[in-house]
């Protein structure tokens, strides 16, 4: 912006309403028109002369009334994505989720990631890995664990075929027979031999 533009000429005289425009007036109008165009395009100069500011505000108000503001499609998507992300974060218990104030770059990146075509491939890859693991388990599965046959019920043996105390056989030992161990061992042996023969002859293991 050149401060020497004719539009900023303080020495201008105000022309009569019906007076024909002169070259200076046309130059000022062209210069202001360019300024308005830049502002509408979002390229407002950093420094605007104070004389031009009221005119620009009037121009902005007039434009707003005749043409409603419309956001670009990418900007609309970014805002919607940001709102959805905030809602998801809150539902997931993340109160510090990214709010609407999220930077536009991040929102754009999020939207781009959601549109990414990698998702189906990711699902397919994970599923393939699971299938491979299942095949590996099938191939490497060890042989069946040896199953011990449940112990067969043990039938109670007859009394005389059982190993048992010899008290009932020898009875109380009288003092005069305290040293007669030979007689007692003979009796025990004979008794147990009878039981042993009965058991083995009837098919039991020795």
């Amino acid at each position: 912006m050149n401060p020497d533009d004719p539009i900023y000429d303080d020495d201008d005289d105000v022309l009569e309403p019906d007076a024909a425009s002169d070259a200076a007036e046309r130059a000022r109008a062209r210069s202001f028109a360019e300024l308005v165009d830049k502002m509408m395009a979002g390229r407002t100069p950093a420094a605007v002369p104070s004389e031009a500011q009221p005119l620009l505000e009037v121009a902005t108000a007039i434009r707003a009334t005749v043409q409603p503001a419309a956001l670009a499609a990418s900007r609309q998507r970014a805002i919607i994505e940001a709102a959805l992300a905030t809602a998801i974060d809150r539902r997931a218990g993340n109160p510090a989720g990214n709010g609407p104030s999220q930077p536009a770059e991040r929102l754009d990146a999020l939207a781009a990631r959601r549109r990414s075509p990698r998702t189906p491939w990711l699902v397919a890859t994970v599923t393939s890995v699971v299938a491979a693991a299942a095949i590996a388990m099938l191939v490497m599965q060890p042989g069946p664990a040896p199953v011990r046959p449940s112990p067969a019920p043990v039938a109670k043996l007859p009394f005389d075929q059982r190993s048992r105390p010899a008290d009932a056989l020898v009875g109380a030992i009288a003092r005069e027979r305290a040293g007669d161990a030979v007689g007692r061992i003979d009796a025990i042996y004979a008794d147990r031999l009878g039981g042993f023969r009965d058991r083995t002859l009837y098919g039991g293991a020795p």
Binding site: A134, A152, S163, R164, P165, I173, R175, L193, G203, G204
Partner: protein, 189 residues
Amino acid sequence: MRGICLPIALGVALALAACGTSTDEAPAGARVTQIAQPEDAITQELMVALAQAKNFHHKARVYMSDGKPDLAIDSVRSILAVRFPAGAPEADDVRADARALLAKLLVAKGELDAAMSEIDAGLAQATRESFFVANLYTVKGEVLQAQAELLAETDPTRTRELRKQAIVAFDQSIAINTRLQQKLMEHRE
């Protein structure tokens, strides 16, 4: 979409197949018709042990008849080394009886302290009351009685003490015999 569903279906099918392949087949060679052997059966090992003890007893009797008490004592000691099946009640009875006989042979030889040691060892190894344990107490009383006789003229006080101990030992034998007799009677009824 078809490319995604195929691996998913394959993975699920294989996982189910892997989970369903366990088998309950018994290993080859396992016998299911084998006759179970009760643990308290009279076994060949028990019969062999009893036969050995029997033979050592007869051998000791022959030595005694032949006037060889030392060899008789050695033969009876051999009974204590006979291996019986673990937990066989006959083992306790045979060993207790051998200790009692050993003590009597030592008493006859005049070795009263050695006789008492055998008695004490036999009583220490007893796992239950039996007529054989009662017999050990009987022989203990006899050993104490013999010790008292030895000291009768030189040490009357000690003699009285030993006689009292002998009576206690005989009483213990009687008490055990009484309890066991009663138990056997109850069994028969």
